[in-house]
């Protein structure tokens, strides 16, 4: 007996030749109704989240150490001496080797800063501390950053600033930051950052970061990046300056978001869902 055939014959009995045509239009209308109901529920959830976040930020001090998610700096490494904290850790400032003059330098610099995006006049700045080898950072860049950029950065409401915070337990994180910053010097920062996070699972096992970037960047850009990674010590200064700023913000884990608004720096860690973050940013924008 052929088992295949026997079972197929039985299952074929399920096919009815009754000319039934499912009503696509009615089904689409039902889907729209479900979507409408879900939107109403979400709207109420946002209101509740916004109220909760405002209450939290009003009555609770920032807790940089409370990190149920993300990568936490090893306890043994926390006392490692860091460069003195400076209010600005952007590459332009770091390469000037005068961190104390950073705020003025950043505001007046005519050189576009590859770590910043968005309008310089945006009322809110989001500083994102990340480690290229941190899985939660990769998830942040995959799930939340595209939405944040589309809704707030591209609309001029928020200025985004990337900051490097490679953790000591991640073997290749610092090297990845060097590659990203070198790509930034070559005008390919966003491309490199995205590529590094997207392929994190690959290069974090063997350290071959260059192979991942080479498949995205032009040979000319890749040559520049390679040269800088091998010879340019300012890349480390850039990273060190960001780390110092992070220490100043009380940071010891990634990813962490610092929201700068009206001169205040609000450390948010762990990073909440986009819905929650959106409700908070909308509240700030309305004030």
């Amino acid at each position: 007996m052929n088992m295949n055939r026997w079972v197929d014959d039985r299952l074929a009995a399920l096919d009815e030749a009754d000319g039934w045509q499912p009503d696509t239009a009615r089904a689409r209308a039902r889907l729209r109704e479900l979507d409408r109901q879900a939107r109403i529920r979400r709207r109420w959830a946002w209101v509740a989240a916004a109220a909760a976040s405002l209450g939290l930020l009003t009555f609770v001090q920032p807790r940089a150490c409370a990190m149920p998610r993300g990568c936490v700096q090893n306890a043994t490494e926390k006392n490692v001496t860091r460069p003195a904290a400076t209010p600005a850790a952007t590459p332009a400032v770091a390469s000037a080797a005068k961190p104390q003059a950073a705020p003025a330098a950043r505001q007046t610099s005519a050189v576009p800063n590859y770590k910043e995006s968005g309008s310089p006049d945006a009322p809110i700045t989001c500083e994102v501390y990340s480690d290229y080898e941190c899985p939660s950072c990769a998830a942040l860049y995959r799930d939340i950053m595209p939405l944040l950029v589309a809704d707030y950065v591209q609309t001029g409401k928020v200025k985004l600033l990337h900051r490097d915070f490679p953790l000591p337990q991640h073997r290749y994180a610092k090297l990845a930051a060097r590659y990203a910053n070198a790509a930034g010097q070559a005008g390919q920062y966003d491309l490199a950052v995205n590529r590094l996070f997207q392929t994190q699972a690959v290069w974090s096992t063997n350290g071959d970061i260059e192979a991942q970037l080479a498949s995205m960047l032009s040979p000319e850009a890749m040559r520049k990046v390679r040269d800088m990674v091998e010879h340019d010590s300012r890349l480390d200064e850039t990273v060190a300056a960001d780390q110092a700023m992070g220490m100043n913000d009380g940071l010891h884990a990634t990813p962490t978001l610092v929201i700068v608004w009206k001169g205040n720096r609000q450390t948010i860690s762990p990073i909440p869902s986009y819905t929650f973050l959106k409700s908070y940013l909308d509240q700030l924008a309305r004030q």
């Binding site: 088992m3 295949n4 026997w6 079972v7 197929d8 039985r10 299952l11 074929a12 009995a13 399920l14 096919d15 009815e16 009754d18 039934w20 045509q21 499912p22 009503d23 696509t24 009615r26 089904a27 689409r28 039902r30 889907l31 479900l34 979507d35 879900a38 995006s117 860049y141 995959r142 950053m145 595209p146 950029v149 589309a150 950065v153 985004l160 966003d190 950052v193 995205n194």
Partner: protein, 169 residues
């Protein structure tokens, strides 16, 4: 920073796939109205699962539909409404062939509701035309294992069928 991929055209996907998915559910549950409700539920799950959007969306929604259909079949069986529903949904048994087919359909549904859910799912996905590779993705196993699993599922189906209805078909 540009990180978004090309958007998934849910509307076009829905228009192209809804009929087929509803019919796939209908052949299991035997109730057209209920099949349409479950098909909407399957697409609603897809809509709310952005990670499923993409080239594998077809397999994803089909697998979801089969699961919903089997759950419904078991629910019907538990609440003893199965017989009523299946008889209401089948055409009038005026010609003898139609009557025999309806009877066979009912028997197959009873067997699917009785065997292991994963095996029933596998048989339905296969009878829906999924290749071994698609099946492997859908049920999250290695392609090399699909043949063995199908063989076991077919054996279980036949054993249950013979147990319930006897004979040496």
């Amino acid at each position: 920073m540009e990180t978004r991929e090309a958007p998934f055209d849910f509307e076009a996907f829905f228009q192209a796939q809804y009929g087929g998915i509803a019919r796939s559910i209908g052949r299991v549950v035997g109730d057209h109205a209920r099949a349409e409700e479950l098909a909407v539920e399957a697409f609603w799950k897809l809509w709310r699962s952005p990670r499923a959007h993409g080239e594998n969306a077809g397999g994803w929604v089909y697998r979801t539909a089969v699961r919903l259909a089997l759950n419904e079949l078991r629910r019907q069986k538990r609440s003893m409404r199965y017989e009523l529903l299946s008889r209401d949904g089948t055409p009038s048994p005026t010609p003898e062939e139609a009557h025999a087919a309806a009877e066979e359909r009912e028997q197959v549904r009873r067997v699917l509701a009785a065997i292991n859910a994963r095996q029933a799912e596998l048989l339905l996905l296969r009878s829906g035309g999924l290749s071994y590779n698609d099946l492997a993705v859908a049920i999250d196993v290695k392609p090399a294992s699909v043949g063995t699993l199908i063989g076991r599922a077919q054996h279980a189906f036949r054993q249950e069928y013979l147990k319930q209805f006897g004979g040496t078909k």
